[in-house]
């Protein structure tokens, strides 16, 4: 698992809690992940597989400015995820749908670039907060740590604690040498 760190000490809890989330998504379908794997969709309880999200244009300026922390990431888009205690994003691979749509709509030339997603942790790990990718867990991250999620990497995130979990996803295109 790729592990990096950027300084986001200017982001505090109040900024996170003030964010207005515009979508509340049930992740049980995992964007077709189970179908592609040929296994049954898990019988998750209705209350559990939920994430709240706010995207690109609906985010305040400080969120968009975080793109500048990753100047090697081209044509990037940003999302913030909020996961309440007892909720999780089920195992899945990223389809990067919005990014792919942007490329198509704006006729962006991505020759020589690979689509990736940066998962940036906006808080130190708190009790019950969990990130797992390709059967490897990251259990000691701190605020500002990030990893790179490639489109074919199965991952899941969960909040089994009692405090809200916030992360940022910055999706874009990168040269292979920038993500080794």
């Amino acid at each position: 698992m790729y592990k990096g760190h950027v300084d986001i000490s200017h982001i505090d809890d109040e900024m996170l809690y003030r964010l207005k989330f515009v979508e509340h998504v049930n992740t049980v379908w995992s964007a077709g992940y189970w179908d592609r794997k040929g296994v049954a969709v898990p019988d998750y309880p209705h209350d559990a597989p939920w994430v709240q999200q706010v995207f690109e244009g609906d985010c305040p300026g400080w969120v968009a400015n975080c793109k500048d922390l990753f100047p090697w990431l081209k044509y990037s888009m940003v999302t913030v995820n909020k996961i309440l205690p007892g909720r999780f994003i089920a195992p899945h691979t990223d389809t990067l749908f919005k990014m792919q749509q942007k490329v198509k709509d704006q006729n962006i030339d991505t020759t020589g670039l690979s689509p990736i997603r940066i998962n940036l942790f906006l808080q130190d790990r708190l009790e019950g907060h969990y990130f797992e990718m390709e059967n490897e867990a990251w259990i000691d991250y701190v605020k500002g740590d990030y990893t790179i999620i490639k489109p074919d990497c199965t991952h899941l995130v969960a909040n089994l604690g009692y405090q809200i979990r916030f992360t940022m996803q910055i999706t874009g295109f990168a040269k292979q040498e920038d993500i080794q």
Binding site: P49, L84, G86, P91, E127, A158
Partner: protein, 163 residues
């Protein structure tokens, strides 16, 4: 003090599938923040106690024999369910056998699977193999959950040393 160890166990899928759970209940929510977020829908588990099969009772013979009394149970956490942050007080064991030092051995019955999670004293524990155990006391806060797509089975041997 948290201790870790491993038993030599051979628990098959059939043995787990044959377990007849009848108790399905919502986990205790021991403080207000948990009441706010955890519901019957996302924090319920299956559990069996002394009616557990003999192979579960036999685990007690393999553990360090530093106790006078014990009880056993098996927990099945279905996908999507969490046992939220809590401590176990071992009331029933003490009610039956008197006061003393009590501990719980949590024994993982299968190798770790994607999305299976356990945490004690803010220390996450993953990637376990079948038979590994964690010993913790009645003041050790812990969490377990299953965000994967297969059930998460564990056995508990709760022990008491009279003092």
């Amino acid at each position: 003090m948290i201790k870790y160890g491993k038993l030599d166990i051979d628990v098959t899928n059939k043995m787990l599938n044959d377990l007849k759970f009848v108790d399905y209940f919502q986990c205790y929510r021991q403080y207000d923040k948990l009441h706010h977020y955890y519901t019957e829908g996302n924090s319920s588990i299956w559990q069996m106690f002394e009616e557990s099969p003999q192979w579960v009772h036999d685990f007690a013979k393999q553990l360090p024999q530093d106790f006078d009394h014990h009880v056993v149970s098996v927990i099945k956490i279905d996908p999507g369910q969490t046992i939220p942050h809590h401590v176990d007080k071992h009331f029933k064991l003490k009610e039956a056998h008197g006061e003393g030092e009590s501990y719980r051995y949590l024994i993982f019955l299968e190798d770790w699977k994607r999305g299976h999670y356990y945490e004690v004293h803010d220390q996450p524990f993953t990637k376990w193999s079948a038979g590994e155990w964690v010993k913790f006391g009645n003041d050790d806060w812990h969490i377990a959950g299953n965000m994967g797509d297969e059930p998460f089975y564990s056995a508990q041997v709760t022990v008491l040393k009279n003092v």
